[in-house]
Structure formats: C-alpha cells, structure tokens
C-alpha cells in the first residue's frame, strides 16, 4: 500500500493549549483573568491579565481631601479595610506631626487585629473551597460573622467601615466592644480546632499542598512577596515587628517564619497568625487607656509640600502608601503599594510545571483579593 491515511499527526505531549481561567471563574475569587498555557494538565506558563475592575482609586484620591480618601482605601482590599485606613491615617499624622492619643492607638491596633483574623477566616473558607471542601466555607463564614457583629455594633457597618480618620477615630468604641472581643476570643479558640480537624490535618489536603508551588526566600524577596506568603518562605517581612506602629511595640507576639515556602507552609502561616492575633488581642483588650478618641485636627487638613511614605502590615502583606503633596488639601499624587499585586507577580514563577488543580491551590494560598490588585 502506497497511500497511508493522512490524519494530521500531532505530538500531543508537545502541544500546548491555552485556557482562560477567568475573568469569570470560580477559583479566581473575582474578575482576574489568568491565561494558562497547558500541556495536558501541566501548567507551562501563565499570564495574569488584571484591570477588569480597575476603578482608578489612585487618580480619584487626587481630587479628594485626606479625610475623604479614607473611604476609598476601604474599597481596595475590602477584607482588611481598617488596615488600609490605618495606613493613610498614619501617613497624614506623620506628615502633620500630630500625636494621636494613646487610646486611639490601642483601639486601632485591636481593630486591625480583629480585621486580620476576619480576613484570614475568609481566606480559610475560600481556600477550603478551592480545594473542594465546601463545608469549610460555611464554618469560616460562621465564625467571621462574630467579628462582623462586633464591627457592626461599634462602627455601624460590616465590611467597609471608614472608621479611622486622620488624627483619630470617627467615634468612640461601643461600650460592649471589649466584652464582645473577649467573647469572640473564647469562642474562636474552640472553633479553630474544627479548622485543624477538618482541613489542616486532612491527608488529602496535606498531600495536595506539601511541596507544591515553592517560593524560595530569594524569590520571595525579589518578587516582593510579603505577608504570610512571604514569611512562609522565611522572609522576615512583618512590618508590625520591624517598623512598629500603633501599639505593636507594646504587645508580645511572635513573627513566625516558615522554611518550606510551599502551599502548605503558606496555609500554616495564616493559621498561626490567627492565633498570634488572638494573643495580641488578649493582651491589649483590657488595657485600653481612657482618653479622647481623636486628636484635635484643623478643619481643613493640608499636608506640607513634600513626599511621604507609610507602610503597614495588611492581612495579605505589606501595604505602602506614598503621597506627593504640593501643600494643597488634596494630594498631588497618591500611590499604593498593594501586597496582592506583588504576590500575584510571583504566581507565574511558582506555578510552572504544576497541575491545574495545584494552580487553584496555589492561588488560594496566595489569597488574592482582586480589587486590591486592580485598585
């Protein structure tokens, strides 16, 4: 036979194809689009395309006065809204050299830590859901609800509080605040055991996450991966420890550093951090000093001309605020260094050669919040 059936013969193993994970995809937690090159189920490379919900917050800040900027920062990383507010407030106070009352510092630190726990709880939900354990989602949300109730009682809203203002707070804490926090700690210390039983100890979860998506310490530093993800690689980057603000210098807590830098280590970092945050809360909650809830500020806040920078430790890493002021009541230029954006940049590097299921797990462990990436 001379003729052979002329089927197009392709070498399957070498053929790459692309799939769009997102902008609408259950594992991207929002409108992030990852163009993934796959070979079978192996990820060859991926390209994040962001900007689907870019709202131009930095530009919008340029027309707002400093107290007005606060409510925009809520909407970047909406899961650590208080901490974002804190960054701007600290920056304004630093520029004006205002001394805020001790009470404000204590309350801010406590609220920040509460917010961090709430954020990590939601991360735990979505990480569990990414891994396929749908029950995790409801347990996490159930416990987060307790924190949100405390927030609602004191600050009037659950997610976007705009509670801090330059120089202090919008209002004093509710009389029930301290009791609520203490009740929550007691409650959550019990419930966090469920988290460990359900997911941390689970053999399937451990097999799926250990040794997957490793970021070395060098890579973490060069990509600027901060927060729990960076600390999982051994990069000591906790702003609360190294450049203390609020009353973190008075609280006794550990900066836990991991070694492996894999998905499981990033998972464990956040689990540790929730416990550390509870420790901070326990130390501070009974010692809130009496005093004013805001420093006396001028009616119109004008920053002296110059450049200012302030960083805080948000739930996902280091949040930096950079302001150029020309002496007006609005900033000339405002720039946020959002932790998620830097963490996302490492995604391509760490997910080469992993399976598509691992990519979802890595994404969950990096814990990206899309509005913070796009701003």
């Amino acid at each position: 036979m001379k003729e052979v059936i002329n089927l197009p013969v392709k070498n399957i193993e070498e053929e790459e194809y692309h799939i769009n994970m997102g902008p609408q995809h259950p594992s991207t937690h929002g409108v992030l689009r990852l163009v993934v090159s796959l070979q079978g189920e192996i990820v060859k490379s991926l390209k994040p395309h962001c900007g689907y919900i870019h709202r131009g917050i930095e530009k919008m800040c340029e027309k707002d006065t400093y107290p007005q900027i606060i409510h925009l920062t809520d909407r970047m990383d909406y899961l650590s809204a208080h901490i974002n507010n804190h960054a701007v407030c600290l920056l304004v106070e630093k520029a004006l050299e205002v001394d805020v009352p001790e009470r404000v510092k204590y309350i801010r630190t406590i609220v920040d830590e509460l917010n961090r726990i709430a954020s990590h709880q939601l991360w735990w939900c979505s990480f569990g859901m990414d891994m396929g354990g749908l029950t995790c989602f409801f347990y996490g949300l159930r416990d987060r609800e307790k924190i949100l109730d405390i927030f609602e009682e004191s600050f009037g809203s659950r997610l976007l509080h705009s509670y801090y203002t330059p120089g202090g707070l919008m209002m004093d804490i509710h009389p029930n605040f301290q009791k609520g926090v203490k009740d929550f700690i007691k409650y959550f210390r019990k419930k966090i055991k469920d988290y460990d039983d359900l997911l941390t100890g689970n053999i399937i979860m451990q097999l799926r996450t250990k040794g997957v998506g490793i970021i070395s310490k060098e890579d973490a530093i060069s990509y600027g991966v901060t927060g729990p993800s960076g600390r999982a690689s051994g990069f000591a980057c906790d702003v609360r420890k190294h450049h203390p603000y609020g009353v973190y210098d008075k609280a006794d807590f550990k900066e836990i550093l991991g070694t492996a830098g894999d998905t499981f280590e990033r998972y464990m970092m956040r689990m540790y951090e929730m416990r550390e945050s509870m420790k901070i809360l326990e130390q501070l909650i009974d010692n809130i000093p009496a005093g004013d809830y805001a420093a006396k500020m001028k009616a119109v806040i004008k920053l002296p001309a110059g450049e200012y920078f302030q960083r805080v430790e948000a739930a996902r890493g280091e949040l930096g605020v950079y302001v150029v002021s020309d002496g007006n009541k609005t900033p000339y230029r405002m720039k946020f260094r959002s932790p998620n954006f830097s963490n996302l940049s490492a995604l391509d590097h760490i997910s080469r050669g992993v399976k598509i299921a691992d990519l979802v797990a890595i994404g969950g462990s990096l814990d990206y919040v899309i509005p913070d990436i796009d701003r």
């Binding site: 194809y17 799939i19 995809h25 259950p26 594992s27 189920e41 569990g128 859901m129 990414d130 891994m131 396929g132 354990g133 749908l134 029950t135 995790c136 989602f137 409801f138 347990y139 159930r142 359900l198 997911l199 689970n202 399937i204 979860m205 097999l207 799926r208 399976k355 598509i356 299921a357 691992d358 979802v360």
Partner: protein
Amino acid sequence: MNFSIYDFTSFNQWIDQFLRSVMSPFWAIAVEMVIIGLAILLFYALVGLFLVYAERKVCAFMQNRVGPNRVGPYGFFQTIADFIKLMLKELITIKNADQLLFNLAPFIIIIASFMAIAAIPFAKGLHAIDFDIGILYVIAVSSLGVVGILLAGWSSNSKYSLIGAMRSGAQIISYELSVGLSLLTIIILAGTMQFSAIVEGQANGWFIFKGHIPAFIAFVVFLISSTAETNRGPFDLAEAESELTAGFHTEYSGIKFAFFFLAEYMNMFIVASIAATVFLGGWMAFHVSGWNGFNHIMDFIPPFVWYIGKTFFVIWIMMWFKWTFPRLRIDQLLTLEWKYLLPINLVNILIMAFVVLMGWHF
C-alpha cells in the same frame, strides 16, 4: 421466618395470569413491560427528586445551616421547583459543537442508569429482572455511563469539558477494577451472582458480619471506589467546579443539564443499593440469633423499608464524604487506586477465598 405478608411474588403472578387471561401472550408481555417501565420511571423520578432534596438538607445540616425551607414545609418541594425551572430554561446551542453527540450524551448516561436500576431487588418479588448474573450485569451496564461523560466532554468543544472528560475517563476505568474486585470478594462468599440468591443467603446474617474482616474491608473499598465511580466528592474531579467550572457538563443547560444532574444522583442510588444488597442484606431484616422477640419485631418492618433504609444509610455516608473532604488531585486519585485499593483488594480476595475454603465464616 415468615415473609409471606410482604411477599410480592404471588402478587406479580396474579397480575401475569390476569393479563394472560384477557389478551394474547404477546400483548400480555408488552403490557407487563410497559407497567414495569412506568413503575421504574416513576420510582426513578421520585428517588431522584428526593435525593437532591436530601443532599441539600444533609449538607446544610453538616454546615450549620437549615438548607432549603421556602418551597413547601421544610422546603420539601424545592427540587420540584428546581426541576420546573430547569425544564423551562433555554437549551443553549453551542457553536461548532458536534450537535448529534452533544444531544446524545445525556441520554446515554441516563439510559445506563435506567438499565442498571432494572436489576436491583427492592423486596422479595419486587424485582424487574432477576438475572442469574445480576451483579455482573449491573457492573457492565453502569460502565456504559462513562461513554456519555466522554462524549459530553468532547462534543461540547470546550477545553474545560474536555479536561473533565479526560479525568473522568481515567478515573472510571481504573476504579471499575476496585468495584468489581470488592464485589467479587462477596461473590466468593455467596457462591452466586444472582441478586435474589445473594439476599436469600443473608437471611441468617448479613454478609458484612458473616465474612467479618475481609467482608468489612471489601465494604470499605467498595464504598470508596463506588464514590469515585459516581464522580462524587472527594473524587469529583470530572466536574471540579473550582478548577474546571463544571467539568464535562460546563456547556449544558436546561433539561440536558438536569439529565446529568439526575443521573449522578441515580448512579449514587444504584451503587448504594448494590452496597445495601450485597453487604448489608438487601431487604432482609436485621436479626440477632437467639433474640427471638427482637427478630420478630424486626420482621414486622416491611422489607422494602429495610431496603430503602439501608440504601439511604449508604447514601448518607457518601454525602458525608462529599461534604467533609477536599478534592483529590488526578495523580493522587490514580495512586490511591493502583497503589492502595487494588493491592489491598487482591490480598483481600485471597483471604476471603481462604476463609471460605476453611469454613471460618459464620
């Protein structure tokens, strides 16, 4: 033992004789077939609807929620409302899809589960076909369902569907081995593949107790591998929604999606009823030798209730799996099968054969 009050055999014979007396044998058979078909169809629909409801309630309770509670008392008619919604939804036509196969795939899946349900004994005499190779038949027929999944994945012309179909193919082909081998363990003990004979053989003790350790291991292996074969969590890689949106049925909508959905639950029902029949004594009541009064009370519960109760117990365990565990990765799934379940199963069969030879079973 006296099952006569709940025996359907004479009832069936009465219908048969009545039909034969009024019409020719050909038409009598035809009418009987139609009756059986309708009965199974009705049962199928009812069980499907109930299982969807049960799953939602079970998962809700495991997740500290109340679950559906708007439509009807305790949300009991929720699935009916869902079903109406799915019926009314638009059937989306996919561009560049292979329309014939795309439309055929849901039917293949649902027909496979229909064929399997025909051979399952619900009670004494309540049994559409009592094959002498019943178990083999059910395994054979249920293995056809995977064709539907593969066709659905390929013909949708979507990469997510294709990946889902690939995963499901690898998964079902390998887990069929474990299902077959774990059932074989019990076939060795029972000495027959006929469902009715297997159930009768458990009149004085369920096989899971009779065959003690090897039977229990076989039961566990069967549970795991049949969960995998029905594409349920933690083995739901084929439709892993956080990875592949909905896997092989990403592109389906409306009633065609409902077919996949229903077939998944019915497959779960089928494997659970096989487990109940083969390991847990089918419609046999629970008896403890010596406790005559207790046994007598147990006999008063109709066999159909026993059967349904056992089946739903197995289904509940499978739901418990799904709502607790995270999903496996494809390589771990195959490792579990080839490195753990299969060797354990083979050794287990040897042990069981030995136990049967020595007469150590009860």
